[in-house]
């Protein structure tokens, strides 16, 4: 079907009840990516179909032999919404701003791999030495490590602003970017409206004239609004997933994708029973994860058989998840010296997919093998303080486990501190060796093979209970087309690819 | 003021002022001068009546005497010893000196306590032995003309007159020397009043009590009192023995007060209690204070004036004439 230009899309930003800021550099909230994706562009783009970063603002890149310097040929057809043409200066400006020594912009984590960025940030340098403008449309970026910068520089948080933008007084009330849509109106806490950018570099796109990005935190409200045809997409929770799938009309327009998140319960080795691998495995045996996924998560998840998600190139299709085997679990516990089980506290947030709802289901299962679980409900900002701080016996969380498998698995590298992401203080020399080798690997295949091994080792060691990988499900109205299976974050769509046909209710 | 050695109770120069707020739109805080420089004395076995119009400070004076209202200035002496200010005795100590009977028999008993509890609790508090308490309560009930077995009941099971008897019993249970009666009969039915008046007079004789009685009803005042003090706007304007006051009212306010009494028998006989024509003039060189009524302001300080003796123990408030 031919894309159909024109029309209005009513999109939903489903996670919080507001955007935190119209300065994406300063934000760390996924919610803010919804409007950024419309207004801004980063150096790289994410190819949702191929699951890999692709060049966005550059047409070509050459890599030095040491894999440290990347030289980009920038697009010459990219114009900011205010008409100014994008040049290398804008990129240097944006990255430098993110590393502003006076500010602690969260986006800095994505830039800190550029040489000299950290020095600049600490005030030890006047500029970031790794950013070199060769000419207006040629930019060289030097890294500190031989990693693929695509994964970092594709994030929406590293959006490119026009140089000097932040000095303009109204920039953060009327943001200007390179994206397919131009800022139009913002009703704080409710809605952000963007209109078509006719000068978008990807010719022919975008299609729709206008997009209303509505903010809706409450799932039931969202459900009502979707059924009421007030919004064109809705991210579904498990219960809704069932309801929508069983509704012949609604079921037609559902898109599912395996997202790069691994839901798990992490065990703190400071808590004595968890030092024993058999105990950790026993827990993996004792929980009927399939049942939980089937009944509670309503199949809106993929059973985890290790850390790396299904979409990961290093995912081992042959690896089997822990089977449900309470007898084995009991035996393991007895062997480990806990024939009567023990009690532990499980810190979790109120979340139906990776929080208390799951904990509630685990409690009776573990009880059957003698392990008493006490739920400790916390707010999410408390969880993310307690876990890196080691202030837990066990926690339940959903962690990003992609798209870059190496980055994901480095969270179990023994030199990665707990405060960073080795929350279970995993320390296994064999594992460390695999990771180091993977870093040095010459080819992707070799790297993926090593990572596959590491992942399997991880599963065997069971520093966590491997629960599931998220299956993101989005329902869309029949008149909406071009929805992409984005495994990074399903709900964040490339708006320029969306279009509505004439059956869309006129609004 | 008195040539007797030392009266049982002496009030000296007592003033009570209340700070009050104006309306919401004004921020003024004013002093309401409820009692101004009142001096009184009460002898043993005497009934001193205080009369005056509503709001003139009678109750405030009464409350100060029983220690329920701290005076702003002045002092009260009991048997020559001060009972106000820094040297005042404890509440417990004071309890045996003076007690009070209130006007409203309905509000003066705790509805949640039986009569027995109301009477026995103060006894226990004052260390009367448990064995004696019951006997004492019984005695008090009989004393005020109630049946001892009625003590088991709650106040709402009694009529107004009976409640007033219980109120009197409670005031007397600790054997106080002085009893302050704040309009003891004005809330009672006409046919009940006589019972209470008779009871009070009887008890006074029997227990050698001294009364300070506040009343609006001048016929009751005449019937019961030995001495009378007339108050007007926080000040005493005339004081003297009862017969002197009623036979020879001198201050215009006293005369007005007596003149206004609607006495049925006088009405029918067509006689009037005071003869306006024969109003006595103020002593030479003085004017009565106040001369005019109805123009008083409780918030301002009254001009200086003095109580002058015009007869034995009969004083009238005067200001020098100009």
């Amino acid at each position: 079907e031919e894309p159909h230009p024109g029309g209005v899309i009513n999109f939903v930003a489903p996670y919080g009840s507001s955007f935190s800021s119209l300065d994406i550099h300063a934000s760390a909230q996924v919610q803010d990516e919804f409007w950024t994706k419309a207004i801004h562009r980063s150096l790289y783009d994410w190819d949702a179909n191929d699951n890999k970063p692709v060049l966005g603002l550059a047409t070509d890149v050459s890599v030095s032999d040491d894999k440290l310097t990347y030289t980009y040929k920038l697009r010459q057809d990219a114009y900011f919404h205010d008409g100014k043409q994008m040049t290398a200066d804008d990129i240097i400006y944006s990255y430098t701003r993110i590393m502003d020594p006076g500010k602690a912009y969260p986006a800095a984590q994505y830039i800190s791999n550029i040489k000299g960025a950290t020095e600049y940030n600490q005030g030890k340098a006047k500029e970031i030495s790794g950013l070199k403008k060769i000419d207006d449309f040629t930019l060289a970026i030097t890294l500190t490590d031989p990693i693929d910068p695509g994964y970092q520089l594709m994030t929406n948080y590293t959006a490119i602003y026009p140089a000097g933008a932040a000095d303009k007084p109204d920039f953060f009330t009327h943001p200007v970017g390179l994206g397919p849509y131009k800022f139009s109106e913002y009703v704080p806490g409710s809605r952000l409206t963007v209109v078509k950018n006719d000068k978008y570099y990807d010719k022919g796109k975008p299609y729709a004239d206008k997009i209303n990005i509505m903010i809706m935190g409450d799932a039931s409200a969202r459900d009502v609004a979707f059924r009421n045809k007030e919004v064109d997409v809705s991210v579904l929770g498990p219960a809704q997933y069932v309801a929508y799938k069983s509704d012949p009309e609604l079921a037609k327009n559902i898109i599912e994708v395996a997202e790069v998140y691994t839901r798990h319960v992490g065990f703190n080795p400071d808590f004595k029973p968890f030092q024993d691998k058999r105990v950790r495995q026993a827990i993996n045996y004792a929980i009927d994860s399939d049942l939980i996924i089937k009944r509670l998560a309503k199949d809106k998840a993929y059973r985890a058989s290790g850390w790396l998600p299904v979409s990961s190139p290093a995912y081992d299709k042959d690896s089997k998840p822990y089977p449900y085997d309470p007898e084995k679990a009991k035996a393991q516990l007895a062997e480990a010296g806990y024939p009567n089980g023990f009690e532990f506290e499980l810190t979790a947030t109120q979340n139906e997919s990776w929080g208390l709802t799951i904990v509630e289901a685990i409690i009776p299962m573990l009880d059957k093998v003698g392990i008493k679980v006490k739920a400790k409900p916390v707010e999410s900002s408390v969880l993310s303080e307690a876990v890196p701080g080691g202030d837990f016996q066990a926690y339940m969380w959903s962690s990003e486990s992609g798209p870059d498998s190496l980055t994901a698995l480095r969270c179990f590298y023994s030199k990665t501190p707990q405060s960073s992401c080795n929350y279970t203080k995993f320390n296994n020399p064999d594992y460390d060796k695999l990771i180091e080798a993977a870093r040095q690997a010459k080819t992707d295949d070799e790297k993926n093979e090593l990572l596959r091994k590491a992942n399997n080792l991880l599963q065997e060691e069971a520093p966590v209970w491997f629960f599931n990988y998220n299956k993101a499900v989005m329902a869309y109205q029949p008149w909406l087309h071009g929805v992409q299976p984005n495994s990074m974050e399903m709900a964040i769509q490339s708006y320029e690819k969306l279009w509505v046909d004439e059956t869309a209710p006129a609004r | 003021m008195n040539d007797c050695p030392e009266p049982l109770l002496r009030v000296e120069d007592l003033s009570v002022h209340f700070p009050v707020q104006g309306g919401v739109f004004s921020r003024s805080r004013r002093l309401l001068r409820a009692v101004n420089n009142v001096s009184l004395s009460l002898n043993k076995g005497e009934c001193l009546s205080v009369v005056g119009e509503s709001g003139c400070g009678k109750s405030t004076l009464a409350l100060s005497i029983v220690g329920l209202q701290a005076p702003t200035s002045g002092a009260i002496y009991f048997e020559g010893k001060p009972i106000t200010g820094t040297v005042q005795p404890s509440r417990m100590g004071r309890a045996q000196m003076a007690q009070i009977v209130f006007q409203d028999p309905y509000a003066s008993l705790n509805p949640r306590q039986t009569v027995f509890t109301s009477l026995a609790a103060p006894l226990r508090l004052h260390g009367i032995e448990a064995g004696e308490v019951e006997g004492r309560v019984e005695e008090m009930m009989r004393l005020v003309g109630l049946k001892p077995d009625q003590a088991k009941r709650f106040p709402h099971e009694f009529s107004g007159g009976q409640r007033q008897r219980i109120g009197i019993a409670r005031a007397l249970v600790l054997n106080p020397r002085v009893v302050v009666l704040d309009e003891p009969v004005s809330a009672l039915d006409v046919s009940i009043r006589a019972q209470i008046i008779n009871l009070l007079l009887e008890l006074k004789e029997r227990l050698e009590l001294s009364y300070i009685m506040i009343s609006h009803d001048l016929s009751v005042v005449e019937h019961m009192s030995d001495r009378v003090a007339v108050m007007y706007f926080g000040q005493i304007v005339e004081t003297g023995p009862w017969n002197s006051i009623f036979d020879n009212p001198t201050h215009p306010y006293t005369r007005r007060l007596i003149g206004a009494i609607p006495d049925p028998f006088a009405e029918l006989a067509g006689t009037s209690l005071v003869d306006e024509a024969s109003a006595p003039p103020p002593p030479a060189g003085f004017d009565f204070y106040p001369k005019e009524f109805g123009k008083h302001d409780v918030y301002s300080l009254p001009p200086p004036s003095q109580l002058v003796a015009i007869d034995v123990d009969h004083h009238v408030r005067l200001v020098p004439a100009h």
């Binding site: 009840s17 806490g189 960073s420 | -």
Partner: protein, 311 residues
């Protein structure tokens, strides 16, 4: 009159200071921080250095009393500080959100007044009638409903089943969008108002001066018009003022469930993200609204009731 208002406004200062202190103390011991909230959704690795830097940037590494001193100093200059999250002035952020909340609160109050007041009046004028009983049963039921449940029910009924109204959001700020949240928020005050009005009218009808008015030969209509209405209103007004306060609190729930872009949802978001300056600012503004409304009530009260103004 003006002086009275000024004095009342001045009297708010201690309350404001005390509220600030209280809120400050509470949120200085609350676990979690703006830094940790940035990693709450499990995206990316936790970055301890960034956490440090964030704490530094916002001065969270300084002792509590220094921070409080700073905060009060700012407040004294009518500065609510800068949001941790957006780095915008808190006052601006609140400014954007205040209007929707006030709009919602006033709409809910209107629902309550327009329906509750007459209902209470009618019930009181015919005590013991069917209408009276129904009103009172309705009122008590209205006070017994969990608000978010009620919200869900009206959403399903009016938006989904009947399709009359949009189920959520601010829309273009028009009437259609405000109806459901205002209804949800207004039910409790409506019920309370109907009850209070009824009680007040009954109380006034029982007053001695009503007997006087009747003895003048007045009919019921004039009686109500000349003597009952104002007197009952005096009794009802206080309820209105206080009701407004608790409504400001309930607005948090209602705004969250209807995605209403008000102060309540800002507050809830900011609490969960530990954007403390915004939390403090929003609560302060909510309290200020409450105090202002109640000052207004007092003034109104004094205007209607001469006993108060003249002391």
């Amino acid at each position: 009159m003006l002086r009275f208002v000024l004095r009342r406004l001045l009297q708010m200062i201690p309350t404001i200071v005390a509220v600030s202190l209280l809120i400050f103390v509470i949120f200085s011991v609350v676990p979690g921080s703006i830094a940790s909230s940035m990693f709450a959704d499990g995206r990316g690795a936790n970055d301890p250095k960034l956490v440090e830097r964030i704490k530094q940037e916002f001065g969270l590494d300084r002792p509590v009393y220094v921070r409080f001193g700073d905060y009060m100093w700012q407040l004294a200059h009518f500065d609510l500080g800068t949001s941790f999250r957006t780095r915008q002035p808190v006052a601006d952020m609140i400014g954007e959100r205040l209007w929707p909340t006030l709009k919602l609160a006033f709409a809910a109050m209107c629902v309550a007044i327009v329906i509750g007041l007459p209902l209470g009046f009618i019930a009181a004028l015919k005590p013991g009638s069917i209408l009276d009983s129904l009103t009172m049963v309705g009122a008590i039921s209205g006070l017994s409903l969990p608000q978010f449940w009620l919200g869900l029910l009206v959403m399903y009924l009016f938006a989904l089943t009947l399709g009359w109204l949009p189920s959520f959001g601010y829309g273009d700020g028009g009437l259609r969008n405000i109806i459901l949240p205002a209804l949800t928020l207004g039910v409790a005050p409506l019920a309370l108002l109907a009850r209070t009005t009824r009680a007040a009218v009954l109380e006034v009808m029982n007053a001695d001066f009503i007997r006087t008015a009747r003895s003048k030969g007045m009919n019921s209509f004039l009686l109500v018009k000349w003597h009952v209405m104002r007197n009952a209103l005096v009794l009802v007004i206080t309820t209105l003022g206080l009701q407004f306060g608790s409504m400001m609190g309930q607005a948090v729930v209602v705004e969250k469930m209807f995605s209403w872009p008000g102060l309540g949802s800002l507050l809830i978001d900011s609490v969960s993200l530990r954007d403390i300056p915004v939390v403090q600012g929003s609560i302060l503004v909510l309290v200020l609204c409450f105090l202002l409304v109640n000052t207004l009530v007092d003034v109104l009260y004094a205007v209607i009731d001469p006993r108060i103004s003249h002391g």
